[in-house]
Amino acid sequence: MREGRRGQPALVITLSLLCFLTFLPFIWVVLTAVKPNSEIYALDKQILPRHPTLVHFRKVFDRGDQLPRFVLNTLVYSVVTIVAVGILSAMAGYALGLLRFRGSGLFVHLMLVLLSVPWVILMVPILMFEFRLGIWNTREGLILPYVALFLPLAIWIMRGTFLTMPRELGQAARIDGAGELRVFWRIYLPMARGGLATVVLLTFIQVWNEVLLASTLAIHPEIANINTGLRMLQDEGQAFAFGTLSAVILLAMIPTLVVFVLLQRHYVRGVSEGAFAGF
């Protein structure tokens, strides 16, 4: 026991150091964002800004609605995807976990295969279908594959949630004359709230981090998501120099940070579950 306590200060110091290392890029970006260009590109650099300024932030908003639009696009993508994935995965998970119809075992196995498929092999077929349907480079053209591709993992999580529930509850309710929909909606769904929260957060994280599909299916600046949008701004090069870029980065972090602070516990669970995703 004494051994353990003696080690504590060293542990705290090491961890603080690691935290500092993690934080270093943030600090540097914050400092850059409030430095005037003359200091950013000066030959004799200072770590701390001598004349703090908000000029970069102003420039971001002066350039019109670019950044807000990227954020808004991603918000739309995530909300629509979350609603669709949430509803579909809850119903499918309920069917697979509690109703267990004929062939549901096969269905579950098939889903596991889909979970482990790398997305690259799907890119070209998706692209070709979307070309033929005329939805390539549209918002729907990005949301549809999102729903389809994020769904297997969500169904898997919901199935796991429903599996832990007693089937007797539903049987009792059915004897009392409750319809199938009522049993699902009134009895089981409220109990599955935890699983649903994980699915929602996981989908949110995945949409906000998605690059591969967004960079091939939604390449118009009007509909770019936050990731590909920032990449486009970066390509504009000098016009969008480091000071402004830093301001953009900081502003673009706000939405996910807010969600993280509000829903920390679920967020961690979402990330852990997301590690098993197929993309």
């Binding site: 026991m1 080690g7 504590q8 542990l11 705290v12 090491t14 961890l15 603080s16 690691l18 935290c19 993690t22 934080f23 890029p25 943030f26 540097w28 970006v29 850059t32 650099k45 579909l88 269905f107 098939l110 889909l114 498929v117 790398p118 690259v120 092999i121 799907l122 890119m123 070209v124 077929p125 998706i126 692209l127 070709m128 070309f131 033929r132 389809a148 769904l151 297997p152 981090n209 690059v211 591969l212 091939t216 936050i226 990731n227 920032l230 990449r231 970066q234 480091f242 980065i249 673009a252 996910t256 940070l257 993280f260 920390q264 967020y267 961690v268 990330v271 852990s272 590690a275 098993f276």
Partner: protein
């Protein structure tokens, strides 16, 4: 019906690799094995393959090491563990491209902080073009993707599940922390380690975003990965090539994942 959305494209995509096609029409099975032959002899593909494999080996080893270190530290610490966890978790919260964009600025040869600090402390000779030099781009990629210290959050759950009695018993017997780690932590963590390592290997093989943000595969394809190659070819409308690389990639991922799982099983039999 839901499965048709993914299952159908998978089959479709597999058949495409044997066909000659454009975005509008397909001549089924007209190409035979030509697509595969074209990929295998392509020097770009071989470059991407060797970059992806060596990156995966180095990155998985380092990131698992980091994750183990952070995980064990968080397991042992008694003060402020929630605080440290929250702080160290932050890189995961930031949307991926933002994190890498920050590094573009840090690693900038002329105005970045890294080269500035190196010059200040008298190591000006080490101030390099981190992202645009053939020799350093590999190391930069590995370093940049190590930010966040690997999947420690996944290991921590396993570490916290190890019964405390084991450590208490070891301490009564006078075991040193190093021996505790070797004889309690590692064996107890083995199942978790196996799963997480496999996941990391797969994630490593799929490296795409940092290349997309920082180097676009350059300089001179020195940081070209398989995923980025597919992305490049799709943008050039070389769809047959892209699909075929995708399937070769799938075969590699499957093989590597099975090999990783088997390596762990063999070692367990030894013990």
């Amino acid at each position: 019906m839901l499965l048709a959305f993914i299952a159908y494209p998978i089959v479709y995509s597999f058949f495409l690799t044997f066909s000659r096609f454009t975005i509008r029409d397909v001549k089924w099975f007209a190409a035979g094995l030509d697509n595969y032959r074209g990929v295998i002899v392509d020097p770009d593909f071989l470059t991407a393959l060797s970059f992806t494999l060596s990156y995966t080996v180095v990155w998985v080893a380092l990131s698992m090491g980091c994750a183990l270190l952070v995980g064990v530290l968080l397991q042992q610490v008694r003060v402020g563990s929630t605080f440290f966890r929250g702080m160290l978790f932050l890189p995961t919260v930031v949307p991926v491209t933002m994190g890498f964009l920050m590094f573009q600025w840090i690693l900038d040869p002329a105005n970045g902080i890294l080269n500035y600090v190196l010059k200040e402390i008298g190591l000006g000779g080490l101030a390099l073009n981190w992202l645009s030099d053939r020799g350093t781009v590999f190391g930069s990629m590995v370093a940049v993707t190590l930010w966040g210290f690997g999947p420690w959050i996944l290991l921590l759950a396993g570490l916290l599940a190890i019964p405390k009695e084991l450590y208490e018993a070891a301490r009564v017997d006078g075991a040193s922390p190093a021996r505790e780690f070797l004889y309690i932590t590692l064996p107890q963590l083995r199942p978790t380690l196996m799963v997480v390592t496999t996941l990391q290997v797969i994630a490593g093989l799929k490296i795409f975003v940092p290349i997309y943000v920082l180097t676009s595969g350059g300089p001179a394809n020195a940081s070209l990965s398989l995923y980025f190659l597919v992305f490049q070819k799709i943008n050039q409308y070389k769809l047959a090539y892209a699909t075929t690389v995708g399937w070769v990639f799938t075969a590699i991922v499957t093989a590597v994942a099975i090999a990783t799982a088997m390596a762990f099983r063999v070692r367990r039999d030894d013990a």
